[in-house]
Amino acid sequence: MRAEQLKGHLDALLLAVLQSGPRHGYAISEALKARSSGAFDLPTGTLYPALQRLEMAGLIEGEWSEVGGRRRRTYRLTDRGHSTLAEERATWRSFANAIGSVLGQPA
């Protein structure tokens, strides 16, 4: 699946990955890869502007730490992020059901 197809869904995917606990950027990209079985073919660098957008929207919050002499930012879901993720999930389910009911049945 290419980056263009993921546009519009990336924010929800990032929220879903962060639901299980705080992660830094690389761990987020690895979790995304593992959970999608490598189906998402997007440059990992595109995650960072998306993470910044989510942080500006108050859905996640980041915290700096130092690991091996490098600065690392770890993100976690905020309360608003949890409720937005629940809404996104509900929207996706009804969308997928509607599309599936049309595409899934032969004419």
Binding site: P43, T46, Y48, P49, Q52, M56, A57, R73
Partner: protein
């Protein structure tokens, strides 16, 4: 034996030339470095050489041409938000100073005859500082549409206008407040100079483009 340059550091050095220089950009590049180094370490532990691992990590991260536009937009929005907040803080402080100079100090010193409304020009200058800062904050706080090209163009224009008004208006407003203080306590030259310099230094701290703006003003004269 020659030491080979690190592909990660070369990539980050090139990337830093494609995004505006700001604290937000430095933070994003630090995050990118952490990601790239982690990725390279994982590849190295799987048997790749250091150079090959770093090259692969860079390739997976994405080309600079591909990423720079999105990075630039995010950096621009965050910078605008930061600048708008600081502008509002400074304008608020200036308002407190102005209120003290025009009202509280005369009252405190019993110089009731010295109390007069702030000159119209001071009110207009304060509004010229306050309004663009509020507009900039509003533009940068928009959640859903801010990354759209038209919106970012508005934001960029808004920031330019706010920066110019702030950089030129703050020293002028600070001088007016200082002038009023001088009327009450004497030493007009020292107060004027302090107001002007204080305004300039604050403007420079809040708006990174202050020097560029003054250079442009000087050139146009």
């Amino acid at each position: 034996m020659s030491v080979q340059a690190s592909p990660i550091e070369e990539y980050l050095a090139k990337f830093s030339t494609c995004v505006p220089s700001s604290p937000v950009a430095r933070d994003m590049l630090d995050e990118a470095r952490d990601h790239l180094v982690e990725g390279a370490l994982a590849l190295q532990s799987a048997g790749a050489s250091r150079q090959a691992a770093e090259r692969d990590a860079v390739r997976e991260f994405g080309s600079i041409e591909q990423l720079a536009v999105e990075f630039r937009t995010v950096i621009m929005v965050r910078d605008a938000k930061r600048q708008a907040r600081w502008q509002l803080v400074v304008v608020g402080l200036l308002g407190i100073c102005g209120f003290s100079a025009f009202r509280l100090i005369p009252l405190w010193r019993g110089q009731l005859s010295e109390i007069f409304p702030p000159p119209l020009v001071a009110c207009a200058a304060a509004a010229a500082l306050l309004c663009p800062s509020l507009v900039l904050l509003m533009l940068s706080a928009t959640r859903r549409t801010w990354h759209e090209a038209r919106w970012t163009a508005w934001l960029l224009s808004g920031r330019t206008v706010a920066s110019w008004l702030f950089v030129l208006g703050l020293p002028a407003c600070a001088s007016m407040v200082a002038d009023q203080i001088a009327v009450l306590v004497g030493a007009p030259h020292a107060w004027l100079l302090a107001g002007l310099l204080g305004g300039l230094l604050l403007a420079r701290r809040v708006v990174p483009e202050t020097t560029t703006i003054f250079k442009q003003v000087a050139r146009s004269w």
